[in-house]
């Protein structure tokens, strides 16, 4: 196949000349397509089977379960219609868990965004050792959320006087704090552990975005008298980072919505810090094992997440304004031409 392709006239030449492509090139091309089709199915089939078995079937099954009373069984017989869905309208625990997500997202999203962008700008400006700092910041991403949570719980924010945070407070004569037992201290623990675990990932994303900004823009800015500092960031770096910011914002929102491990390990029984997924875990997979209710809740949460993601993309997403205003893009393209 490769030898036929290599012998095709016109390949590798400097003149593409489409009209000069000989008819003989059609045969190897057809062979290539045929071979590609086989290869396509060989490679895709295992993943397709996995996708159908482990994603599509569970979603369809779960949708079915959500209309049944399914305590302790995956093959229920008692149809309850929308009963499982209407349950959530009156379940304070569920609405409170959505409130918990809202409060959590309100803190973790902007804080992670600001810290990771700040660190990325700092690292990007370093004349040397960029790779070292990039790696050092990325290292916690490799750590399990469970392990991170245990370190935070047992060592840093233990409620005992011997905990690191309480020892530090003790130096100033402040009595020990029960970090996970009193509001709002538990938010300090929950926010800081996730910040430590995920900020490196977003630093790398922002670094990639920063390195895509053409240097010529900074040179032009210098000619216009903006050499460095906040104005350069505001008028050049920030607008150029917009697609990266949109992607990071979406990823952070989804990650906040999916918060689970640290909440389950740090504050397993506290209703004031129970996010939606922990609530659903207790309903469907914990001791309650109510698969009908759990499935309905999962579908409601999925719907909420999809709507939020669509709205976010619509209003803050990738060049959203330009996408809506095709004429400006065409006009800009015309000018460039």
């Amino acid at each position: 196949m490769s030898s036929s392709t290599a012998s095709a006239p016109g390949r590798g030449g400097t003149s593409p000349a489409p009209s000069s492509t000989p008819a003989s090139a059609t045969a190897p091309r057809a062979a290539t397509v045929k071979g590609s089709r086989l290869a396509f199915w060989v490679f895709v089939t295992p993943f397709l089977v996995g996708l159908v078995l482990f994603t599509v079937v569970p979603i369809v099954w779960s949708t079915g379960l959500s209309f049944f009373e399914a305590r302790g069984t995956l093959t229920p017989t008692r149809f309850v219609g929308l009963g499982n869905y209407t349950h959530f309208l009156t379940d304070d625990a569920f609405t409170n868990s959505l409130g918990t997500f809202f409060v959590y997202a309100l803190f973790i999203v902007p804080v992670t965004m600001a810290v990771s962008l700040g660190l990325a700008v700092l690292v990007n400006g370093l004349p040397r050792f960029q790779a070292f700092y990039r790696s050092a910041l990325f290292l916690p991403v490799a750590c399990s959320y469970v392990v991170g949570s245990l370190v935070w719980k047992l060592a840093l924010f233990s409620g005992l006087p011997s905990g690191v945070a309480n020892s530090a407070l003790g130096v100033f004569g402040i009595p020990p704090v029960s970090w996970l037992g009193s509001s709002p201290y538990w938010w300090i623990v929950l926010i800081s552990v996730r910040l430590w675990l995920q900020v490196g990932f977003y630093v790398v994303l922002f670094l990639a975005g920063l390195q895509r900004i053409p240097p010529v823009l900074y040179e032009a800015a210098m000619l216009d008298g903006i050499s460095a500092g906040f104005r350069r960031f505001r008028y050049i770096t920030w607008p150029q980072l917009r697609p990266t910011v949109a992607a990071v914002l979406l990823l952070l929102l989804v990650a906040a919505f999916q918060a689970f491990d640290e909440f389950l390990n740090l504050v397993p029984t506290n209703p004031s810090t129970r996010p939606p997924l922990v609530y659903l875990y207790n309903v469907a997979l914990g001791a309650q094992r109510d698969f009908g209710l759990g499935s309905a809740g999962a579908l409601i949460l999925t719907t909420i997440m999809v709507v939020v993601a669509l709205l976010q993309t619509r209003f803050f997403g990738f060049s959203a304004a330009e996408d809506r205003n095709g004429t400006s893009r065409r006009r800009r393209g015309g000018v460039q031409a």
């Binding site: 069984t73 625990a93 924010f157 409620g159 037992g181 029984t269 004031s272 001791a287 309650q288 094992r289």
Partner: protein, 424 residues
């Protein structure tokens, strides 16, 4: 040659990948998932599930029993991590588990046919068990498991700390809460009753010690919302607010390390930890039931229990029942060893408990006597969702200062809805 070689390599790679995937798939279909035991006896193979016990020696003891069992090959599955979820998945899939222990027998699973009915084993001998031991295994008039071990949970204290603070052993719940406040000072707290400040254990214990308990006798009404329970929870809220509860310990109340280290004067603990506490504290250890709450209250000891069950879809239900009976009904010596050889538990069979010499004196006897007199278990109709609703309410009372009466009323309403849904 190069293109041919390249094509061959690609095919070889694909063939290898396909063969590897097939091998993996076939091996995944096998039943070898890391169990131990099996003695090569008879033609019947049984898989017996245990959760991971904290005490050394338990796994060896059950594996040895399985090896010596003559009527079937018994394979012990020692399950690490979230036992309830793993067991539930296996029961739902209907394979891989024949005999299993369970501390949360639930009506839905029994009615959906996940458990084998053990009434034929238990009915002839049920008068040999206490009412408290039979309650968790009885649903809809049938018995679904053999009680294995009973775990009384109650209050333990350091007499030296009470004496030093000039505090008498409390005889009412109000005195208990006040004692906790007075015993708090320096790096020591009055209570260690769980990292939730006692919301989990005390919310239920107060309902029992105030008299109404959690459910009525025929399990149709939730009964804990009474003025006395409100009073008890208000006293708990006051003690929490005064900083008398230790929270944020590395492990929860079930691990005696924090109490042994002197970080609290009174703790909530199961009898299983008695050997570890005696070893660390010697004679400086006392035990008491939860004192009465209000004028019509009574003492309370909360009892949890592990039970041996058979899966309805076991490979051989009759063989599995016979094995469960041989181990947990007939083999009294093994039951005694299991109860007191490693940690401390009470054999649920009355005669076996009376014949266990380690439970006949000192603190162990005190606990057994208190349990016989004041032991309480809510039973299988007290569903986990109900426990969560009550604990959530108590947590809000403690950590957010929420109004006790309205939280308790709301919790009772939620619990009643859940109980009604169980009946339908």
């Amino acid at each position: 040659m190069a293109p041919t070689s390249s094509r061959f390599s690609r095919r070889a790679l694909l063939t290898g990948l396909g063969a590897g995937a097939t091998t993996l798939a076939l091996s995944a279909c096998g039943s070898n998932d890391g169990g131990t035991g099996g003695g090569g006896n008879g033609g019947t193979s049984l898989s017996q599930w245990y959760h991971q016990y904290g005490e050394d020696g338990v796994q060896q003891a059950v594996t040895d029993w399985a090896k010596n069992y003559g009527a079937a090959d018994v394979r012990v599955e020692w399950t690490l991590g979230d036992y309830a979820s793993k067991l539930s998945s296996r029961l739902l899939s209907g394979s891989g588990v024949d005999v299993f222990e369970n501390n949360g027998i639930d009506p839905a699973s029994a009615r959906k046919g996940l458990y084998a009915d053990m009434s034929d084993v238990m009915d002839p001998i049920k008068d040999q068990y206490s009412e408290v031991a039979l309650k968790p295994v009885t649903i809809d008039g049938k018995i679904w498991g053999i009680p294995m071990i009973t775990d009384p949970q109650l209050l333990w204290y350091r007499p030296s700390m009470l004496e030093e603070a000039g505090v008498a052993v409390p005889t009412t719940f109000d005195e208990l809460m006040q004692a906790g406040i007075e015993l708090t000072g320096g790096n020591r707290k009055g209570f260690f009753v769980g990292n939730d400040g006692g919301a989990g254990v005390f919310s239920q214990a107060i309902a029992v010690a105030a008299g109404p308990e959690l459910l009525n006798d025929d399990n149709t009404q939730v009964t804990f919302d009474t003025p006395d329970v409100v009073m008890g929870l208000t006293a708990l809220q006051k003690a929490y607010g005064a900083g008398a509860m230790l929270t944020g310990a590395p492990t929860d109340f079930w691990d005696p390390t924090t109490f042994n280290a002197g970080l609290a004067a009174i703790t909530w603990q199961g009898m299983w930890a008695l050997p570890a506490m005696k070893k660390a504290l010697g004679d400086d250890l006392g035990v008491m039931a939860v004192p009465p709450v209000g004028g019509s209250g009574k003492q309370a000891v909360l009892v949890s229990q592990w039970n041996e069950q058979v899966a309805a879809k076991a490979s051989d239900v009759e063989a599995a029942k016979a094995m469960a009976k041989a181990q947990w009904v007939d083999d009294a010596e093994f039951q005694k060893t299991f109860a007191v050889g490693f940690g401390f538990h009470v054999p649920p069979k009355t005669a076996t408990a009376e014949a266990t010499t380690e439970l006949q004196d000192g603190l162990a006897k005190q606990v057994v006597d208190l349990t016989n007199q004041w032991g309480y278990t809510a039973g299988p109709y007290w569903a986990p969702a109900m426990g969560t609703a009550l604990t959530d309410a108590a947590t809000r009372m403690l950590t957010n200062g929420a109004d006790v009466a309205s939280e308790l009323a709301a919790a009772q309403k939620t619990c009643q809805q859940t109980l009604d849904s169980l009946a339908s």
